[in-house]
C-alpha cells in the first residue's frame, strides 16, 4: 500500500500526524511496520477529503520548509487547525489516529466507521490511557495483578523534537 504514496508525501503526512497527535513519528511509522496504518490512514483521508487533504499537506510542507521543528505545532495551530476548511479536516485525521474511526462529516461524533480491524487495535488512545482494546491485549495473561508500565509519554515532546 505504501508503494502508492510518494515518499515525500508520506513523510509530510507522518510529520503532520506527529504534530497533531503528540506522538513521535517512530511510533506512528516504526521502521519495521508490517501493519502500516500510516498508508491506510493516508489513503482514507485522501479519498475522503480530496483537494482539502492535498491542501493540508501542501500547507504543512511549507511549514516544514520554512520553520524549525519546534515551531511546527504553533504554525499548525495558526495555519491549519484555525482554518475554517482545513481545521475540521485535520481533526478528522487526528481522531483517526487516536480511535481508528473516520468521522464524516468531520465534527459529527455519531457518524463514522472503524476503518479496519488493525485500526481499532492500533488506536493511540489505548496507549494514552495505558490500556488495551477489548478482545486484544499486548500484555501477558494476568497483567492486571502487576503494576502498569510507566505512564505513557508522548515521545515527540519528550525528545524535544516538537514544541
Amino acid at each position: 500500500m505504501s508503494d502508492a504514496v510518494p515518499d515525500s508525501s508520506m513523510n509530510t503526512f507522518v510529520e503532520l500526524s506527529s504534530v497533531l497527535t503528540g506522538y513521535a513519528r517512530e511510533v506512528l511509522a516504526p521502521p519495521f511496520d508490517s501493519i502500516d496504518l500510516k498508508s491506510l490512514y493516508y489513503q482514507t483521508a485522501q479519498q475522503a477529503q480530496g483537494a482539502v487533504f492535498d491542501q493540508i499537506l501542501s500547507t504543512f510542507a511549507q511549514i516544514m520548509s520554512a520553520t524549525p521543528p519546534d515551531q511546527w505545532p504553533q504554525e499548525v495551530q495558526e495555519k491549519i487547525l484555525s482554518d475554517a476548511t482545513l481545521g475540521p479536516a485535520a481533526r478528522q485525521i487526528l481522531k483517526l489516529w487516536f480511535v481508528g474511526i473516520w468521522y464524516d462529516p468531520p465534527d459529527q461524533i455519531n457518524q463514522g466507521h472503524i476503518v479496519s480491524m488493525q485500526a481499532y487495535i492500533g488506536g493511540l488512545v489505548w496507549d494514552t490511557i495505558q490500556a488495551h482494546p477489548m478482545g486484544d491485549s499486548q500484555f501477558a495473561f494476568g497483567y492486571w495483578g502487576s503494576d502498569p508500565p510507566p505512564p505513557g509519554p508522548f515521545p515527540r515532546f519528550e525528545k524535544g523534537g516538537g514544541a
Binding site: V19, L20, T21, G22, P30, P31, F32, D33, S34, I35, P73, Q74, V76, Q77, L81, R91, L94, K95, F98, V99, Y103, I109, M117, Q118, I121, V125, D127, T128, Q130, G135, D136, S137, Q138, F139, A140, F141, G142, P149, P150, G152, F154, F157, E158, G162, A163
Partner: protein, 460 residues
C-alpha cells in the same frame, strides 16, 4: 512540554472526549525433475549482501540484521529460519551426536536421523502425578501396549492439538480438530525441547504443580546469545502423517515410530499401538534469543501438503487436499473423533500464500540441498514464514509487535488460517493464527505467565 504543546495535547484529548504461489512451486518442479548429477541442480540466486546461504550444522545464536527496512529484516529472519532448519535436521550418529561431516541429506537414501529428534519429548517432561522428568538422554517411556519385541523407541502419542481428552497433550487453544490425510488417517504430533530449556524446567521444578506453586519470580527461559555464543531455549513441534497409499516416501523425512492411541470413555476408544512409518509434514521451530525475548517463531511444511487458496491449476496429489472433491476447505471433521479409525479426509488449502521473498530463499536452500544429493528428502520442505518481535524491548508493548501479524502452518493451524468471507480471505486479529499472540496467553497452572510455553500448563 511547552504550554503550546500542552494546548495541542489538550485539544487532542478534548476531541477524543467528544467524539491483513506458486512461483516457488515452479522451482520445486524443476527440482523434482530427474537430475543426472549434483552439478545439474538449479543455480541458486545470490544471497543478499551480508548473508551467506550455506548448509551448516551450527545452530544460529541469533538473527543478524543486514538492513534497516522491513523487507530486509524479514529476509534476515527467514535466513535464520533456514539455518535453524538445516542445523536441527543435520545428521546425528547412533549415539545422537552431530556428525559435521555427514551433510544433511547426504546419505544414499537422502534421509538421516536428526538433531531435534534426540531432544526431550513433552511426555518425558510433564509426567503423571508430577513426577520429575526422566533424565536428559533417557529413552522415552513406552506404554505397555506398545512394547513390541524389537520395536522402535520413538513414541508418538498426540493425535491433534486440541484440548480434548482424546487428543492428548494438547496445548493449543482456539478452534482445533484433528487433521486427516487423504487415506483417512489422522495426522500425529510431537513436541520436543532442547537441553537448555529442559534444564531450566528441571532446575526450577516447573514440571509439577507443586513446583510451580513454590516458584517465585517470572518464567525466563534461557536465551541464545550471539555475543557469548551461548545456545538457549528452542522448542520444536512436529506434524507427521502415517505413510500409506499414494505417498512417495522419497519425498519425506521418515521416522519409524510407535503410534499410540490412548483409551477414551467418551467417545469409546480402545487403547492401541502400532508400528508405523511416519512422514514429516510440518515443523515449527521456536527459538528464544537475546534480541527476541518473545521468541522467534518459524514454520516449515512438506511441499505436497495443500494448494493455495483460491485453488487454481491443482497438482494431481496432495497430502491433505483432493482435487475435484468439492469438499469444503479447512473444515473440522464431525465428531466423534477416533484416531484409531479412518475418518473423512480434511480438505486443506493455504489461505496466505508464501511471499515472493520467502519463495526465493526457499528456492536457494532447496537447490543447495538437492546439490548435496539429488535424492535428498530435505529439498521437499519449504519455509512458510517467520514471525518475530519488531519492538522487543518496549515496556508499553511487552508482546513486541508480532511481525508479520499472522502465521499459520496448514498442518498445525489448519482451521485458524483466516476467515473466508464471501470467498475472500480475512485475517482477523485474535481469530487468525498468530504464534506470538496466542502463546502470550500461556500460563503455569498457577495462572502466572509461563514464558510463551503452553507445555507447563499441563503439569500435574
Amino acid at each position: 512540554m511547552t504550554s503550546h504543546a500542552k494546548r495541542l495535547f489538550g485539544l487532542a484529548l478534548s476531541l477524543l472526549a467528544v467524539s491483513g504461489a506458486w512461483a516457488g512451486r515452479s522451482a520445486m518442479a524443476a527440482l523434482q525433475a530427474p537430475q543426472p548429477a549434483p552439478a545439474a541442480a538449479p543455480e541458486p540466486a545470490a544471497p543478499p549482501a551480508g548473508q551467506t546461504t550455506k548448509l551448516s550444522p551450527d545452530i544460529p545464536y541469533d538473527v543478524v540484521l543486514t538492513g534497516s527496512t522491513l523487507e530486509a529484516a524479514q529476509r534476515d529472519f527467514d535466513q535464520f529460519a533456514w539455518e535453524m532448519f538445516v542445523a536441527l535436521n543435520w545428521t546425528v550418529d547412533a549415539s545422537g551426536k552431530v556428525d559435521p561431516q555427514k551433510v544433511i541429506g547426504s546419505a544414499p537414501s537422502g534421509d538421516n536421523p536428526t538433531v531435534w529428534e534426540t531432544w526431550k519429548e513433552a511426555g518425558g517432561i510433564i509426567r503423571a502425578g508430577g513426577k520429575p522428568p526422566t533424565p536428559w538422554g533417557a529413552p522415552p517411556e513406552i506404554p505397555p501396549v506398545c512394547r513390541f519385541a524389537g520395536g522402535p523407541s520413538k513414541v508418538i502419542a498426540q493425535a491433534g492439538k486440541v484440548p480434548l481428552p482424546l487428543l492428548v497433550q494438547s496445548e493449543q487453544a482456539f478452534k482445533m480438530g484433528p487433521l486427516i490425510d487423504q487415506n483417512g488417517v489422522y495426522a500425529r504430533y510431537e513436541i520436543v525441547v532442547d537441553q537448555p530449556m529442559f534444564d531450566y524446567i528441571v532446575a526450577n521444578q516447573l514440571y509439577s504443580r507443586a513446583g510451580q506453586q513454590s516458584f517465585k519470580g517470572q518464567v525466563e527461559f534461557p536465551f541464545s546469545d550471539l555475543a557469548t555464543k551461548t545456545l538457549g531455549s528452542i522448542m520444536v513441534k512436529a506434524a507427521w502423517k502415517i505413510l500409506g497409499a499414494g505417498d512417495d516416501p522419497s519425498r519425506f523425512h521418515v521416522s519409524e515410530a510407535l503410534v499410540y492411541t490412548p483409551a477414551s470413555e467418551n467417545p469409546p476408544v480402545q487403547e492401541s499401538c502400532a508400528k508405523e512409518k511416519l512422514g514429516l509434514v510440518g515443523l515449527h521451530i521456536v527459538a528464544r534469543t537475546k534480541s527476541a525475548p518473545q521468541w522467534i517463531w518459524t514454520t516449515f511444511e512438506q511441499v505436497d501438503n495443500a494448494p493455495d487458496y483460491p485453488v487454481q491449476n491443482a497438482a494431481s496429489h496432495y497430502n491433505f487436499y483432493a482435487p475435484g472433491s468439492g469438499a469444503p476447505i479447512n473444515t473440522v471433521a464431525p465428531q466423534p473423533w477416533d484416531p484409531a479409525k479412518k475418518g473423512p479426509p480434511t480438505q486443506v488449502a493455504r489461505l496466505s500464500a508464501l511471499t515472493a521473498a520467502t519463495q526465493t530463499i526457499n528456492s536457494q536452500y532447496q537447490a543447495l540441498l538437492a546439490a548435496v544429493n539429488p535424492r535428498s528428502v530435505w529439498q521437499y520442505y519449504e519455509l512458510i514464514n517467520t514471525q518475530w518481535p519488531a519492538s522487543p524491548n518496549d515496556p508499553r508493548n511487552p508482546l513486541g509487535r508480532p511481525t508479520p501479524p499472522f502465521l499459520a502452518n496448514t498442518t498445525m493451524e489448519t482451521y485458524i488460517q483466516g476467515a473466508l468471507v464471501d470467498g475472500k480471505v480475512e485475517l482477523v486479529p485474535q481469530g487468525t493464527s498468530s504464534c506470538m499472540n496466542c502463546h502470550n496467553n500461556a500460563t503455569l497452572t498457577t495462572a502466572a505467565p509461563s514464558g510463551f510455553s503452553y507445555l507447563l500448563s499441563q503439569a500435574q
